[in-house]
Each structure stands twice: as structure tokens, then as C-alpha cells.
């Protein structure tokens, strides 16, 4: 899911940075309009750490292995804080572990961050209708986690498929990319399930955490 340095041409990475700058600016503006912008910083901080660490948990899906992303979960719980949180997490993953890269930071932030904002909008839909129920929270939690990752996988797929260098055998590389994308399919369900479990748990033990979003 993290695109490393040297894979994408410079115009694509530059466009990624431009888009990331725009979305970060928009997110920060939205955060500043809140009554108390500092209120959600603790949970954003903790979830940034979770996002940072979780990419080390590899789930074997033969013939490859994938790792949890949790961008849908961040979106559902953090709202507009999700994008900056993911950006910070990705920066440290790139600097410390060469997981991703500094030139591709913008592109990776778009791949994982933009779907997290979509997850936030999906999770907010639970408030429509008669009243909030645990059942509705669970369903929309699942949808936000699963759809966010599905969009991420789709973006990752499109960016890679349109940027296969001419020096490589295009057919082989394309097949490898499709194999990886298929490996992410079970993860979409897993992330939806994890997000659903966590939001239902939070609603039961500390519903105030979900109040802001």
C-alpha cells in the first residue's frame, strides 16, 4: 500500500504533494472552526501511533502478505483530524523504516488519507433516521472501514497501473499488481470488522469519544 521512492515519475509525486497540501489546509481549517480545536488532539495522537505501528502487523495472504491500514477507523473516530494524523504517521514510517518514501509522501497521503475522510462522512450517516442504536453504529462502522480501504486499494491500483515504466515487462508487472490487489480483498472485510467492533465498544464504554464526529 505504501509506494516507495523511485517508483513513480516526478510529475505524479508533485501532483500528490499539491493535492495533499490542499486537503491538509482544508482539514486544518475545518478543525479550527470547532468550538475547542484542541479537544480531539489526545485521541488523534494515540490513533496516529496506532496507524504508525499497525503497518508492521503482516497478515499472510498467499502468495503475498498484506498489513492493516486502519485508515477507515481513523476517519470514523477522528473526523477531520484523520488526514493530518495519517500524514504524520506516513512521514515517520518513511523516515524511520523506509516504509513508503519522502518523494511519494504526498501520493501515499492521498491514497490513505482521502478515503479516511470519506469514511468519516459514511460514519456520520448513522445519525440519520429515528435514533442512534448500537446496531446502526456497528453497520456504519463496518461500512466506513471497508469502503475506505476499498477506495485506497482502487487508488493504489490505478496509480501503479498507469505508471509502469517502459523498461519493465508490462504484462508481468500488471499481473503482479493485480495479485496484490486481490490479496487486499479479505483485508477490506477484516478492517470493516475491526472498525465496527471498536466503534461499538467505544459507544458502550465511552460514548463521548464518538460525540465529536
Amino acid at each position: 500500500m505504501h509506494i516507495p521512492d523511485g517508483i513513480l515519475p516526478v510529475p505524479v509525486t508533485a501532483a500528490g504533494y499539491a493535492a495533499t497540501a490542499a486537503v491538509t489546509w482544508y482539514s486544518v481549517r475545518k478543525i479550527n472552526k470547532k468550538e475547542n480545536p484542541r479537544q480531539d488532539i489526545p485521541k488523534a495522537s494515540i490513533l496516529t501511533a496506532a496507524f504508525f505501528v499497525v503497518s508492521w502487523i503482516h497478515i499472510p495472504v498467499p502468495p503475498t502478505s498484506v498489513h492493516l491500514v486502519l485508515n477507515g477507523l481513523l476517519g470514523a473516530i477522528l473526523g477531520y483530524f484523520a488526514f493530518p494524523a495519517i500524514l504524520i504517521g506516513l512521514f515517520f514510517q518513511a523516515v524511520m523504516f523506509q516504509h513508503g518514501g519522502l518523494t511519494t509522501l504526498g501520493v501515499n497521503a492521498m491514497i490513505m488519507g482521502l478515503p479516511s475522510l470519506i469514511a468519516y462522512f459514511i460514519f456520520r450517516l448513522r445519525k440519520f433516521g429515528d435514533k442512534e442504536s448500537r446496531w446502526k453504529t456497528g453497520v456504519f462502522g463496518f461500512l466506513s472501514g471497508a469502503i475506505a480501504l476499498a477506495i485506497s486499494v482502487a487508488m493504489f491500483l490505478v496509480i501503479l497501473l498507469t505508471n509502469i515504466p517502459a523498461d519493465l515487462d508490462v504484462g508481468t508487472e500488471r499481473a503482479a499488481i493485480y495479485t496484490l490487489a486481490i490479496a487486499y480483498l479479505p483485508l477490506i472485510a477484516i478492517e470493516g470488522f475491526i472498525t465496527s467492533l471498536l466503534v461499538v465498544f467505544l459507544q458502550r464504554v465511552r460514548p463521548r469519544i464518538l460525540d465529536g464526529v
Binding site: I7, S45, I46, T64, Q98, F156, A176, T179
Partner: protein, 151 residues
């Protein structure tokens, strides 16, 4: 009689020269030539240690870093080897890539040659330490912003 001895001496001399000369020619002709057939072996793995089986590699020679000098596919253990053209000293770039994952290694060939090398990679302890620092930083931030305000 005198004449006869002269001929015999002459023959012996010719014979001796004939015997000795070829040996001298051989001794002068000795020479040693050598060629080093250097093979570079590449092992490509993902950061979780899994081999990049079936990944594609592209080798670029120092004189033309934009046109591939050699392309191919790694074996099941993520290995491949090639013999670089030693008449092209400089830095050879080798890219290994699969499904958008990959890396480039730069191998200097010529006077400042190194025998082994690689890219990236920390030990497990370093990784755990760095991750722990980051987590502590995040928890610290969370604690700082969640402290109760005194009136």
C-alpha cells in the same frame, strides 16, 4: 684430416646452438594473462524478510543510465546474478520491482569496488527502539493535551 675435424666441430656447434636456442626462445616468450569474471549476485527481499519471487529487475550500465543494459526476472528466492562489463567502470544501477514495491541499489565497479553491500535495513532492536520513541511521543502529546485545566 684437419678438414674432417673442422667439419665435426662445426656440426657439434650447430647441434649445440640448435639445442639451446629453442629453449632460450621459449623462456623469453613466457607471459601471464588473466581475466576476472566477476559475477554480481542480487538477493531481493521485502522488509518482512520474504523473498521477492518473480520480481522484475533492470540493470543500467554507467555509460547509459536511461537504457536498460539487462532485464529479467528473479527466481523463487528473489535471486539473480549477472556479469557486468568491466570495460564500463562506474556505478551500475540495479532496480528490482514487483507490484509497485521495489528498490534501487547502486554498485560501484572499478577502482573503488566494494565486495558486498545493500540498501536500507535496520536491526530488529533499532526498529523496536524507534517505534517505542514514536509511541511515547504520541502518548506524551495525548497526555499533555488531555490534562485538566486548573481554574
Amino acid at each position: 684430416m684437419r678438414m674432417k675435424w673442422r667439419i665435426i666441430t662445426c656440426l657439434i656447434f650447430i647441434l649445440m646452438v640448435g639445442l639451446v636456442l629453442p629453449i632460450k626462445v621459449l623462456a623469453h616468450g613466457a607471459k601471464i594473462e588473466y581475466t576476472v569474471n566477476m559475477t554480481i549476485e542480487i538477493v531481493a527481499t521485502y522488509d518482512n524478510g520474504e523473498p521477492m519471487a518473480g520480481a522484475q529487475f533492470v540493470v543500467y550500465a554507467p555509460d547509459d543510465p536511461s537504457t536498460p543494459w539487462l532485464t529479467g526476472v528473479c527466481d523463487d528466492e528473489g535471486r539473480f546474478s549477472f556479469t557486468p562489463d568491466t570495460s564500463k567502470p562506474g556505478t551500475w544501477d540495479i532496480q528490482v520491482r514487483q507490484a509497485g514495491h521495489g528498490d534501487i541499489v547502486y554498485i560501484p565497479i572499478g577502482e573503488d569496488m566494494v565486495v558486498t553491500g545493500g540498501t536500507g535495513g535496520y536491526t530488529a532492536i533499532q526498529i523496536i527502539l524507534m517505534a517505542a520513541c514514536f509511541i511515547w511521543g504520541s502518548v506524551g502529546t495525548a497526555l499533555y493535551f488531555s490534562r485538566r485545566r486548573r481554574a
